[in-house]
Assembly symmetry: none
Homo-oligomer: 217 residues x 2
DNA sequence: ATATAAATAAGGGAAATGCCTTAAAAGAGA
DNA sequence: TCTCTTTTAAGGCATTTCCCTTATTTATAT
């Protein structure tokens, strides 16, 4: 397993991120950064020519975003593993990435140890998720069957997640309403439902949940 | 000029950015990354102890943002040059940074060459601005208008920290009052003062501040 | 000694939250 | 088809936050 080098493609539109990751991996004997790409389209093109083992894929990229690129790549090259790489983002995107076939998800503000851990885990066929990502989401990809949630932790709908994100960003109900073109009363209903579902009874709890879920910060 | 090493402090809350820049500068003989800081407050503290030549200062940071930190540092340590480092190229922020006394401004997605150019230019008393930044703004800093800051920068008292901690734990004013044997009105006053001092206007901001400060969670 | 800051307390009012209710339209699934 | 979920919306009401003000006491610092 450690005999062959793990070849990696870094896809990120910020050169400094690419350079940063490259330098973090420079000393590693069993890892080689084989290629770079500045957007999703380029990532696909590079992956076609260069059969890398793992792609560190930024979610937000010009031309073609990381989600769509991941979907195309995992469909066309099942052997290539994709680790999503992003700053804090919404649950919708995380699950989108996982649904697109990503094998892992790490935040950009990671250290070398975590990065290596993620690469090695995924390289060995596993999945890796940043500790910030709630396990409930991770299980979704672990099981091939879509996880139905009859658990005490019932999940939030897309809209509710959206509202929660805005709450976590400090917006009031009326501000959220304006942003989403809704009635303030509707937003209030969503807020109430979110709290009921999560068994949270004030905005402090909501903010903390939003942060823990990677929805904000 | 090239005889003495240029010592640099990197202030950014994302470790990967710090590592990335550090690695970019690693090979340079006349540059040494002398220190790191994860937020504005830390940057000031580090600058006080360690008289660096240049600070690469992220704009968006917890506890104390790059603008305010720059204002304080350039006022207190006129010899230290600050280069703003950020992803945003918003006009308002740029001029704010320049008014705060920054000597340069570069975007995060730069390459090694530009970074070195910026550092050397600023080190020689010049100013450096990413080509993306319009020159009209640059001229504004050329005038050595004394930076005045009526900065909202008084920090919290012991009691205020205590109250903030309870707020971050989800307690209401009356609950905090009960716990601290105070009148709810007193707690409210503390809350108001905390918000005024930190320029925060809702509980969401308070919770985030409390978390970032390590007060809770 | 005297200004400054911290800690205490309160009045008053506008805005927002928290929690209950009902309800209609749209879509998905069994 | 019937049911369940989601999304939308609203009425009403108690509580809480947010922001302004003033004020006393105590400690600290110049």
């Amino acid at each position: 397993m450690a005999s062959k080098k793990i070849s990696i493609l870094i896809a990120d539109d910020h050169q400094i991120i690419v350079d940063g990751i490259r330098s973090l991996l420079e000393g590693e004997k069993n890892i080689i950064v084989a290629a770079e790409a500045g957007n999703g389209k380029e990532a696909i093109a590079v992956a076609e020519k260069n059969p890398v083992d793992i792609i560190l894929m930024d979610v937000e990229m010009p031309l073609l975003n990381g989600c769509d690129a991941t979907a195309i790549i995992t469909a066309r090259f099942p052997k290539i593993k994709v680790i999503a790489l992003t700053t804090y983002d919404e649950k919708a995107i995380i699950s989108k990435m996982l649904n697109a076939g990503a094998s892992g998800y790490i935040l950009k503000n990671i250290n070398k140890k975590i990065l290596l851990e993620a690469i090695n885990t995924v390289s060995n066929g596993g999945t890796y998720f940043s500790s910030e990502i709630p396990i409930v989401l991770a299980t979704k990809s672990a099981e091939t069957t879509p996880v139905k949630h009859d658990s005490p932790l019932s999940f939030l709908s897309t809209r509710e997640v959206e509202v929660l994100k805005h709450i976590g960003n400090g917006l009031s109900n009326s501000e959220i309403a304006e942003k989403l073109f809704l009635s303030p009363k509707t937003v209030e209903t969503h807020r109430t439902n979110i709290m009921r579902k999560l068994n949270i009874h004030n905005v402090v709890g909501l903010v903390k949940y939003a942060i823990k879920s990677g929805l904000v910060d």
